[in-house]
Structures are given as structure tokens and as C-alpha cells.
């Protein structure tokens, strides 16, 4: 992992001390790596970090819920679950049994853009991890049965119940997406998918999906930690080179669109207090205004010092919380802002303040200190992400992310620089161009039978 320049051998990440006094921005983030590609198209990125005797193998398949076809929402994630159910040489259940017996953990995740799988464990477990990952990449399909599909369908449907249906406000997201993104847009539905579509998935869908997407040609594998790159290469070649190439996959682009009018909607939920969500269509990750929109989100609602927390929660005391973020994905993005009312207050009271603050920052911009505060926090978060090599969000995962999103695995410093270059004028401009001047989706989630608490469209604003 990371060592300072002044320390000796085995440097993984160099944090070069510079001389800028006041800001955190005095380090250069660098995550060195080597890379090679097998003849079958599998790209491998190797990052050495010998600080702790552990390693991680993190494989990204370049396919996510955005690649699903109509009537099969949630399928990419259901497929992810099937990847743990055994392959030709690894009987069902053995994947997890073997890894745990070696002291390793494993997990996987699916987003709109990609699906990933990782194993984290002691440094001697590399051959086992590669054996298991190669077997499910190259030898899983013959072992998939309708029973396995049914079982994991049940698990995933319970995941949907646990994480969405049985959570307060848990169905807000799918109600926003279907109104924000037009039909046919890859982000029009949530990753978890619908119950009906999950029920409809067949083993034929599994076969088709596997042959198209689950091939070395469509994957990048990052191996990081206490490893020897030559040995890594030898082992990867040993386990993966016989797996045949797959088709070259071209993801369908997100169709351009603009919301023609504000969309107001209300759903009733088993909640005590009403909450309002605002969603604006913006730009994809790493597009020119992405970082400024992130900074805008934190100036508006990041922490107690933010403008909306101060007004809504602290001063007026009409809300219990407020949050905002720029949801920048690979093909498209949206700006989200939500706030929950306190007892006795309705969502129009909250929206009035939200609208005032959006207008104010679009007209007069943030102070330099507000921008600096957010950028300093961002820099600190970048530093924290240097501490861990494995799991979700560790250095290996970030190398895979940057490789897929911008084509440069070690993009850490360049990514941070995007934030460091954001000015108050940039924040003002994106507030104006993407929030004030654009239409949005306003979704109210209210207690059962309390639709009178919902936000309603103000006459003639904007």
C-alpha cells in the first residue's frame, strides 16, 4: 500500500510531499501498476502493495443493468448471483467453502454499467482464487440448471424485499428513474429490477447473457496486494489462457434527451414523514461539468455547514435531513436532492426553500471558502481510499473503475485534479445551466392517505 517517499523499499503508492502550505492538495496520488492482455482478450492489471500479507482479485465484466433487454430488468444482477453457484469443476457451494477454508472473503456487485467479483484473502491464496474465477468464466454454463436459477431468483427477490420494499422510501428510486430517463434509455429502471421481470427470467436468458458478456474479451481483472507480478502473470496464463474469446461487445449509447416539462408525482408509502426528491438530468461521469456538479451538491447539502442543512434543518427546523449528490454514471448522469419534513410540515414548504437556494447559488454563486471546504473534503476522501487494496472501493476496484471509465487505470491524481480546478464561478454556472434552467422530476413520498402533504407544481416559476 502507500508509503511515503522517505521510507524504503516496497513502495506501493508514492505520496510526494510538495510545499503548498495551506491546502491538503500537497500530495500527488500515484498507484503504480503493470498490465498485460492474454490472446483471448482478458486484460490484467497488477498492483503491488506489500504492506500487509493479503491480496485481492477483482474482475470487472463490462456489462450491467443498462444492457438488459425489455422485460428482463434485474437480470444482470440475478446472473451475478448465479456466478457463485458452482461451475464444471467446482460443485455448488464449493466456491465459498474453498475460499473460507483458505481464509478468504468474496463478494460481487452489479451496477448500471458493470458487474464485478472479488476475492480478498491471505497472500498464498492466489492460485485458488484464479482457479475459481477461471472456472466460472469458462466452465459455468453447462452446470446452470433451472433449479439454480429458481433458487437465486428467490434470494434476489428477497433482496428486493429487504433492501427496497421493506425499507421506508425504498421504492422512490425506481419511481424517479422511470420518469427521469425515457423508455429505451439504459438507466430507465433500477439495477434490482422488477419482481415480474425477475420471475420471467429463464435459463435461456442465462445462456444468452453468458455467451455475450461473460467472456475474457469483455473482462478486466485487477490483482493487487502482496504479490509478485511475474508469478501473477504465470498463474493467470495457466488458468485463463484456454478460455475462448467472446464477441466484442459494444454498449449501446444513451440516447440524448431533455425533459420537456417538470414532472410531479406522488407515491404513498409506509412512512411517518413525507420526503421529496428532486432529480435533474445532467452529464455522465468525467464529462466537463461532472466535478463542478459534485461540488455543488456538497455546497448545497453536504454536512451541517451546507446551505440547505443550515436553513431547513437548523434554522427553520422544518426538515429532519437533506441530502444531495451528483449521480454520474458511465453513459449519463443526474443531480439528486432530497429532504424529509418534520411532523406538521408539508413538502411545499421544503421545496420553496430548495428552490430559493438553488436560485440563489445560480445567481450569486458560492463563496470561495465553501468551494475550498468541499474540495478539501474530497481530497481527504481520496487519501482514505489509498489505505485499502481490496473489497469494494479499494485500490484494485478503483484501478478497474478508472480503466473502464477513462481508459487509464492510475487516474487517481487526474481525477482529484478535476475537483481542485473547480471554481466558484463553475459551481454557479452549473447550478444555473443544469438546475435552474432545466426541468426536473419532483417525487413526493407521503404517508398512506396523506397526499395533501405532497409537493405541487408552483404556477409559472422558472
Amino acid at each position: 500500500m502507500t508509503r511515503r517517499v522517505r521510507t524504503v523499499a516496497g513502495l506501493a503508492v508514492l505520496l510526494l510531499a510538495c510545499t503548498l502550505p495551506a491546502r491538503l492538495s500537497a500530495q500527488a496520488l500515484h498507484v503504480p501498476y503493470t498490465t498485460f492482455t492474454l490472446p483471448n482478450g482478458l486484460k490484467v492489471i497488477v498492483h503491488e502493495d506489500h504492506s500487509v500479507p493479503i491480496l485481492t482479485v477483482n474482475t470487472w465484466y463490462h456489462q450491467g443493468s443498462g444492457d438488459e433487454r425489455p422485460g428482463r430488468t434485474g437480470f444482470a444482477h440475478l446472473f451475478e448471483h448465479l456466478m457463485f453457484m458452482g461451475s464444471q469443476h467446482v460443485p455448488t457451494g464449493q466456491f465459498d467453502q474453498l475460499l473460507e477454508a483458505a481464509g478468504a472473503d468474496n463478494n460481487g456487485s452489479t451496477t448500471e454499467d458493470r458487474t464485478n467479483y472479488f476475492e480478498d484473502g491471505p497472500a498464498n491464496a492466489l492460485p485458488l482464487m484464479l482457479y475459481l474465477d477461471s472456472d466460472r468464466m469458462g466452465f459455468m454454463l453447462p452446470e446452470i440448471t433451472p433449479e439454480k436459477v429458481d433458487l437465486q431468483r428467490g434470494v434476489v427477490q428477497n433482496e428486493r424485499r429487504q433492501s427496497y420494499e421493506n425499507q421506508p422510501y425504498g421504492l422512490a428510486e425506481e419511481n424517479i428513474l422511470k420518469r427521469l430517463y425515457p423508455a429505451g434509455h439504459p438507466y430507465n429502471w433500477p439495477v434490482i429490477g422488477s419482481m415480474a421481470d425477475l420471475s420471467a427470467a429463464t435459463i435461456e436468458d442465462v445462456r444468452r447473457f453468458s455467451r455475450t458478456y461473460y467472456t475474457p474479451t469483455n473482462a478486466t481483472m485487477v490483482i493487487g496486494g502482496d504479490v509478485n507480478p511475474a508469478e501473477v502473470r504465470r498463474q493467470v496464463e495457466r488458468w485463463f489462457r484456454a478460455i475462448p474469446r467472446g464477441p466484442v461487445v459494444t454498449r449501446r449509447p444513451a440516447p440524448p434527451f431533455t425533459l420537456a416539462a417538470d414532472v410531479y408525482a406522488t407515491i404513498e408509502d409506509h412512512v411517518q414523514l413525507p420526503r421529496v426528491y428532486n432529480a435533474w438530468h445532467t452529464v455522465r461521469a468525467f464529462a466537463p461539468n461532472d466535478a463542478a456538479l459534485s461540488v455543488l451538491a456538497d455546497v448545497l447539502a453536504g454536512g451541517k455547514a451546507s446551505r440547505l442543512y443550515r436553513r431547513l434543518v437548523y434554522e427553520m427546523q422544518i426538515a429532519t435531513n437533506v441530502s444531495a449528490y451528483h449521480d454520474a454514471l458511465r453513459l449519463d448522469g443526474s443531480f439528486r436532492l432530497s429532504t424529509t419534513a418534520r411532523p406538521g410540515h408539508d413538502l411545499n414548504e421544503l421545496e420553496r426553500v430548495v428552490n430559493e437556494e438553488v436560485r440563489r447559488i445560480a445567481e450569486t454563486g458560492p463563496t470561495p471558502r465553501e468551494v475550498e471546504r468541499v474540495v478539501n473534503q474530497t481530497e481527504a476522501q481520496f487519501l482514505d481510499r489509498m489505505e485499502r487494496v481490496g473489497s469494494f472501493g479499494g485500490k484494485a476496484d478503483q484501478l478497474a473503475y478508472y480503466d473502464y471509465f477513462v481508459g487509464t487505470p492510475d487516474y487517481f491524481q487526474a481525477d482529484l485534479d478535476r475537483y481542485r480546478h473547480v471554481t466558484a464561478a463553475d459551481v454557479q454556472r452549473v447550478a444555473r445551466d443544469y438546475l435552474l434552467r432545466r426541468h426536473r422530476v419532483v417525487l413526493s413520498v407521503v404517508p398512506q392517505g396523506k397526499t395533501e402533504l405532497a409537493a405541487t407544481q408552483p404556477g409559472g416559476t422558472q
Binding site: 500500500m1 511515503r4 503508492v13 491538503l24 500530495q27 490472446p39 500487509v52 500479507p53 444492457d67 433487454r69 425489455p70 457451494g93 473460507e100 483458505a102 481464509g103 480478498d120 484473502g121 491471505p122 498464498n124 492460485p127 472456472d135 433458487l151 437465486q152 428467490g154 434470494v155 428477497n158 424485499r161 429487504q162 433492501s163 421493506n166 423508455a183 429505451g184 455467451r211 474479451t217 484456454a242 475462448p244 474469446r245 467472446g246 464477441p247 461487445v249 454498449r251 449501446r252 440516447p255 412512512v271 411517518q272 453536504g302 455547514a305 443550515r310 437548523y314 427546523q317 429532519t320 471558502r369 478539501n376 473534503q377 481527504a380 487519501l383 482514505d384 489509498m386 489505505e387 485499502r388
Partner: protein, 488 residues
């Protein structure tokens, strides 16, 4: 808008794959590896532990430092014996409220100014309390450590507790208590301990208080609690990260050296937990719930238990890992849930043993059958050797990863400080896990998984699940509210 575009037909994709397969040179396939068995692994790496260096300030404050110089960040945890065990019986929530109030105005800064300054420094500063201790945590880039510690010292030593802020936070807390009713998992987390321990025991009272107790919170009580318990000889300060002991001593002495020691009253021994009753199912109604939240357990063991290591192995096998029996059965065999697990919450006094899952409403009774099957089996049958070996390997070989980041390592060392364990504790950890036998596991299962006296809490849609649960005949049914109180 267009219908989604397909990326080639399945037939085309298949064809491409077949063509590609045909193109693989024969020499490669000829060298195919042996996949019939998993590869043998070399010997596992040993755990490299970083030393814990300690110093005690003249006022009694204990400082512990672990140097980790990989990344220029520092993690600071201040742990005070001011947990909710010190709450007056009629004022649950005072300890957590006092901890929450520390950063709502301190020294020269208002609540918002403290937050703004921490954010500006790129620091995470947080306060909170659990049953046994309160804590103030700071995580910050090294270069801002000085000013961030200034802020932390204000929060710890000079909280203002202004009436206006007390009122503000009290109102927010009442709203949060109201919102607990939205979350079946939060409801179960209130009802289960209340029933297991009873309201006379501090572990049976809600950490965050009740609606009634929250209404009673005022400045005098908060200031009194703070003055009584927040004292240097009652406190340990752990610093992990890019720092040396000498640096840490200088920084800490300058900020916490003047903190006056004052004798803290010995807490009266708390009442014993409620006497265990015969196994009973407690149903908390949550109309319309898509799942039932199940919690099954009893009073377990304290952190000081001599059976700590056998219990770690037992729990790993029962519900502490993905391949544990409960998860394999309820998730991977039956698909009733997204995950089932168990834990022994070990505190200064005996905390709860608890097994649980969120299960599909229609499978509530079926799930309870499987829970009971596994909980009986772990007591009745000795664990097979391979399963025992797997669990021990999972615990011991996974340990190095717990010391990778400053925050993870701090969590491990904070436990030692909070529970008075020796600072070289982890040096013998693997050895002590490896010494556990199948007989040990069965003994502790029989001793601490108290089948006949289980409290079984189910939070779910009563109209859908009650009849099925009743038909199980696993015990009488009692209808409770989210506080665990009987509904007549």
C-alpha cells in the same frame, strides 16, 4: 423514444464465440491445467502486528499509539467510560444524548462552526455512545492533525450545552424515534433486547431513549452527566496512523494535559437481567411488511468470558460467515432470505446472543422451523472436523486484513482498551483459536445457546404470519409493541 437496441442477436453472439474457440491454438488447449481438484496452496503468511506504545498523562489519561506510515492520515479515538450503563433508570438515552451534544457548540465555536471547520480541514469528527463507553473519533489527513485536534479538544473539554441546542437536538431525536416505526429492523432492535434483558437492566433499555425520556432531557441533566463521567482518568486516547509516540505525546499533552481529574462515582451494580422464561414467540405487528424480521436469542456472555475463543468458532460455524449453517440453510438451500446470521454481542456485562434474518412473509413459519433445526443441531451434534477446520482457518487467516487500514486497526485496538484486555492480545489470537476443539464448540453451544428459554421476536405483518407461527407449537405467542411491551 426507441425501443432498446440489442447488441447483436444471441445467435450472432454464439457464433462469434464458437469461431473464437476454434481459433485457439492447439498448443494451448494441449497444456490444459488440471481442474479436477483445487490447486494446493503454499503456506499462509504470518500476522505481522504493529506494537502498541503507551503513555499516561499526569492527570491519568492513557494514551496508546500505533504507528502506520503507509498513508499520511491519522485516526484518533477517545474512549470514555460514559456509556448508557450510566443512564439513570428513568432517563434512558442520556448518555447518547450527552455524547451527541458535545459537538453542538464547544469553546468559541457554534454547532455549525464546528462542523464547518472539521469539513474545511478534511476531517471526520464524530461523537457517540454505546452501552459501555462513549467515544469521540477523529480521522484526518496528517497535515491538518494539529488544528483538528484543537477542535476535538474543544468538543471533549469545552462543550457548551446551550439550551437552544439542547432543544434543537431533542426535537430532532423525537423525530428520529418516530421514524423507527418505519423500519422493521429498527423495531426488532428495540423489542428484542427489551424483552431479553427487561427494563431493569441497562442493556434492556433503548440506547437512544424513548419518546417520554427524550421529552425530559434538559441542560442540567446533560451537564451533570458530562461533569460526572467525562474525566481523564476515565478515558483512553488511541491514535493510529502516520505519527510517532513522541509527536502524539506532545500534541495530546498540550491539549488534554489540563483536563482535571475528579473521582468518578462507582456505578451501582445493575440489576440482573430478567429471569429467563420458557421459550416464547413475541410478535410485533408491522402491517403491510414485505418481510418478517426474526431475532432469536438469550442473554449471552461478557467480553471477559473465558469461552471467548470457542464462542468465536461456534458463531462462525452457526451464523458468522457466508458458509455458516444458518445462511446456507435459509438462503442457499431454501431461498427464504437474502441472508441469515448470528452473533454474540460481548460487552462489559453479558450481552445478547442473537440469530436472525429478514425473511419473505409467506415463509416466516418455514424459516422459524429451519432456525430451530440449526439451533438444535449445533447443540446436539459435534461439529465435523472439516467444518471446524474451515471456521478456524477463516478466522485466523482473515486476521491480517483487519489491520490493513488505520480505521480497521483502530477498531481492533479500541476493543482492547475498552475492555481492559492486554495490548499484546492479538499475538496469541491465532494460537488460541486453533486450540479450539469440536468438543469445546459443542460445550459452549449447550451452555450459551439457551434453546428452552429463547426469546423469539418476529416483526412482520401479523395478519399474514400469526396462524403459521401458532401452528409451529414452538412456544406461546405474546403480542408486543416495538418497545417490547405487552399489548393487551
Amino acid at each position: 423514444m426507441n425501443r432498446p437496441l440489442r447488441i447483436g442477436t444471441p445467435r450472432a453472439a454464439l457464433l462469434a464465440a464458437l469461431l473464437a474457440a476454434a481459433a485457439v491454438p492447439a498448443t494451448l488447449t494441449a497444456q490444459a491445467v488440471d481442474r479436477t481438484r483445487p490447486p494446493a496452496l503454499g503456506s499462509a503468511p504470518t500476522l505481522r502486528l504493529l506494537p502498541v506504545q503507551t503513555a499516561t498523562l499526569p492527570n491519568g489519561l492513557v494514551l496508546a499509539v500505533v504507528e502506520m506510515h503507509k498513508v499520511p492520515v491519522v485516526d484518533v479515538s477517545l474512549v470514555v467510560d460514559a456509556g448508557s450503563v450510566d443512564d439513570p433508570a428513568d432517563l434512558p438515552g442520556l448518555a447518547t444524548f450527552t455524547a451527541n451534544m458535545l459537538d453542538e457548540g464547544a469553546g468559541r465555536r457554534s454547532a455549525l462552526e464546528i462542523s464547518e471547520e472539521a469539513d474545511f480541514l478534511g476531517a471526520d469528527l464524530s461523537t457517540g455512545a454505546g452501552f459501555d463507553v462513549a467515544s469521540v473519533s477523529l480521522h484526518v489527513p496528517k497535515r491538518q492533525l494539529g488544528p483538528a485536534l484543537d477542535l476535538m479538544a474543544d468538543v471533549v473539554l469545552r462543550p457548551v450545552f446551550a439550551d437552544s441546542e439542547i432543544t434543537r437536538q431533542r426535537d430532532l431525536r423525537r423525530t428520529q424515534i418516530l421514524q423507527q416505526r418505519d423500519q422493521p429492523v429498527a423495531m426488532a432492535a428495540l423489542a428484542f433486547p427489551a424483552i431479553v434483558f427487561g427494563s431493569q437492566h441497562p442493556y434492556g433499555r433503548p440506547l437512544g431513549g424513548t419518546e417520554a425520556s427524550t421529552a425530559l432531557l434538559d441542560r442540567a441533566q446533560v451537564a451533570q452527566f458530562y461533569r460526572t463521567y467525562y474525566r481523564p482518568q476515565n478515558t483512553k486516547l488511541l491514535i493510529v496512523g502516520d505519527i510517532t509516540l513522541a509527536e502524539a505525546q506532545a500534541l495530546v499533552a498540550a491539549r488534554f494535559g489540563s483536563w482535571a481529574r475528579e473521582t468518578t462515582p462507582a456505578a451501582p451494580p445493575p440489576a440482573a437481567p430478567a429471569a429467563p422464561a420458557a421459550r416464547t414467540i413475541f410478535l410485533v405487528d408491522k402491517p403491510g411488511a414485505a418481510q418478517s424480521v426474526i431475532r432469536i436469542g438469550n442473554v449471552g456472555v461478557p467480553r471477559s468470558s473465558a469461552d471467548f475463543f470457542p464462542l468465536q468458532v461456534l458463531n462462525t460455524i452457526l451464523g458468522g460467515s457466508f458458509t455458516s449453517r444458518l445462511n446456507q440453510n435459509l438462503r442457499e438451500t431454501h431461498g427464504y432470505t437474502y441472508g441469515a446470521n448470528s452473533q454474540f454481542a460481548m460487552r462489559r456485562m453479558a450481552g445478547p446472543f442473537q440469530a436472525g434474518a429478514s425473511v419473505q412473509s409467506a415463509k416466516t413459519d418455514s424459516s422459524l422451523i429451519e432456525f430451530m433445526r440449526e439451533l438444535r443441531r449445533i447443540r446436539d451434534e459435534a461439529v465435523p472436523q472439516a467444518e471446524l477446520d474451515k471456521a478456524k482457518a477463516y478466522i485466523t487467516l482473515g486476521l491480517p486484513g483487519d489491520f490493513e487500514t488505520t480505521q480497521a486497526a483502530a477498531g481492533r485496538y479500541r476493543d482492547l482498551l475498552a475492555y481492559g484486555l492486554p495490548l499484546d492480545y492479538y499475538a496469541s489470537y491465532m494460537e488460541r483459536i486453533n486450540a479450539v476443539t469440536a468438543a469445546d464448540v459443542q460445550r459452549v453451544a449447550r451452555q450459551y445457546v439457551d434453546l428452552d428459554h429463547f426469546v423469539i421476536v418476529v416483526v412482520g405483518d401479523r395478519s399474514q404470519i400469526e396462524a403459521g407461527i401458532r401452528a409451529l407449537s414452538e412456544g406461546p405467542i405474546s403480542i408486543r409493541d416495538l418497545w417490547g411491551q405487552e399489548i393487551h
